[in-house]
């Protein structure tokens, strides 16, 4: 537990020492809310979701998108540590490399959830209407948290396997855009072509967005159980792969 806390604290220290990166990570989602929110102001989403404006619909989607974009870059910190040799040194200590990695992942997930919360609040400021309850917020954060664990783990696996910034850039571009545009983050699945809607239904981002949106817009939790179960399964598998990769890295560093 102390090891988890020590690595968690180190990750936060490094985040705080790079305020430009942290600030910039807010700029992109705010632009999405402002540009998409007002660009599609007249988009009648009420056809499929009664009494909901596009801006209301968009805000939970952009919150999830913030988590997706942030999580996919989680491995960049590991690559910096690999390049300085610091990761090898961390893994050469008696601490379990899996626990060391989990400390970093935990800090990243908490940061991403905090960012998503701030983006949600900014959505309220620009006029989005959400059905805010403690249960709804909790359910939303839980779904986004599981999604963050899964994609932070995947990003870290790519980082540890490749050890190259270029690979991370390729990964971010290859994964983020397809995942975003085949999800219900920006458009309801019912308004997509059938083939795209079919992809959307198995997209983990859709699971997180729909669970979060149902909870935040309507106070409904019907889709929550299935979404959490599937996200937990994806998260567990990817976290296990990340754990194994970290342990393997120690043996051959």
């Amino acid at each position: 537990m102390q090891i988890l806390g020590a690595v968690w604290w180190r990750t936060w220290l490094k985040t705080a020492r790079r305020p430009v990166v942290l600030t910039f990570s807010f700029v992109q989602p705010i632009m999405w809310i402002l540009f998409f929110g007002f660009l599609f102001q007249r988009f009648d989403i009420g056809l499929v979701l009664h009494g909901v404006r596009y801006l209301d619909f968009l805000v939970p989607g952009v919150c999830a998108m913030t988590v997706l974009f942030g999580a996919s870059q989680s491995g960049i910190g590991l690559i910096r540590d690999m390049q300085t040799g610091f990761l090898q040194r961390l893994f050469a200590s008696p601490a379990n490399p899996g626990v060391v990695l989990c400390g970093k992942l935990l800090a990243d997930v908490v940061r991403l959830l905090a960012q998503a919360t701030v983006i949600g609040l900014l959505g309220l400021v620009v006029g989005a209407k959400l059905h805010l309850t403690l249960a709804g917020l909790g359910a939303s954060l839980l779904a986004l948290g599981l999604f963050a664990i899964a994609f932070c783990s995947l990003s870290c696996v790519v980082a540890m396997k490749t050890g190259a910034q270029e690979s991370m850039a390729t990964f971010v571009h290859l994964v983020n855009m397809p995942l975003l545009f085949t999800s219900s983050a920006l458009v309801p699945a019912r308004q997509m072509p059938d083939w795209l809607a079919a992809i959307s239904r198995v997209n983990p981002l859709t699971l997180a967005v729909d669970a979060s949106r149902d909870a935040l817009l309507f106070g409904e939790f019907g889709s929550l159980g299935r979404a959490l179960m599937l996200l937990a399964a994806v998260g567990t598998v990817l976290l296990a792969i990340a754990w194994t990769t970290a342990t393997g890295l120690r043996r051959e560093n």
Partner: protein, 349 residues
Amino acid sequence: MLTSEYGTDAETAVVARALTKRYANGVVALDQLDLDIGRAGIMALIGNNGSGKTTLLKLLAGLLTPNSGSAQTLGCDLATQPISLRRRIGYVSQAVELDPEMTGQETLSLFATLHGLPRATRHARVAALAESFGLAEHLPRSVSTYSGGLRQRLHLALGVLHEPELLLLDEPTAALDPAGRSFVWHLLQRFRNEGRTVVVASHDLAEVSQHCQGIALLHRGRALATGSPAEVVAAHASWRLEIEMARLVEDNDDLPLQLRSLSGVKEVTACGRQLVANFAERDAAAVERVKDQVIRHLASRSESLLGYRLHPPDLASAYFNLTGAPIEETVPRARAEPGKGTNGRHKSK
């Protein structure tokens, strides 16, 4: 201290038997290596780049897995107990692996936690260590502002933070100024005096001769000689005469062969303007006679000399006699073929 019996005991820190490490690219870094390292001493691994020093240290630290063979460190089998061993071993890599964005204090505190130091004593241990490494006043600063020497000190401090029984160091003095080197060797002596075992890879034979109780001479993944520096020198080294010629000695020059044919000369190598003649004789008077004979032969050929110097037997000579390559050469193994000359030096036997 070196032992010859298989198995670790109270006096043996490391026992390696037929240890082999082959990397994925096919390079055989360790080839059936046998080595014993006694406790409470400083053992130096000497050898050229690619001789297997770093691989051996990483294997002993549990950071690499051997392809075959066995190694016991501090009585534990490396294959089955690598985690418990880590608390008893300190490994200091050749590269200084630090996070430039962290302060010295944060770095030491983080690793104190990772090594499982009790919370109650952690702060005191970090403070004491910083004091003894001359880091105390620098701890609040970011590592990115440290000089090279300060970084090396912090790097070393991390290796001994948990007071390991066995300290493995990979060329710790390579990038240091004389004061820094002196500091490191003083530290290692202190460790030895505390009853700990130190294994250090080094290229500096003078330092090794001065500070180490044992050496293992590695070449192509094998230990060619082990013992105290004096024992290795006595067994394998010879007197040598270094001659600085006024002209370049070409590869096809017959001069080395002619000198080799003189009585008492074991082998001759040439590198640029330098000729090195290794003598078979060990008696000082006999060595003087062979030297005079060599100089007379050069005079008979009307060779112009810039100077010459007679060296008593030392580790460099032992290394050369055992491997056929000078210790300072840095040619990768794939290109270094014994007998054909390396680093521009050719040898006449």
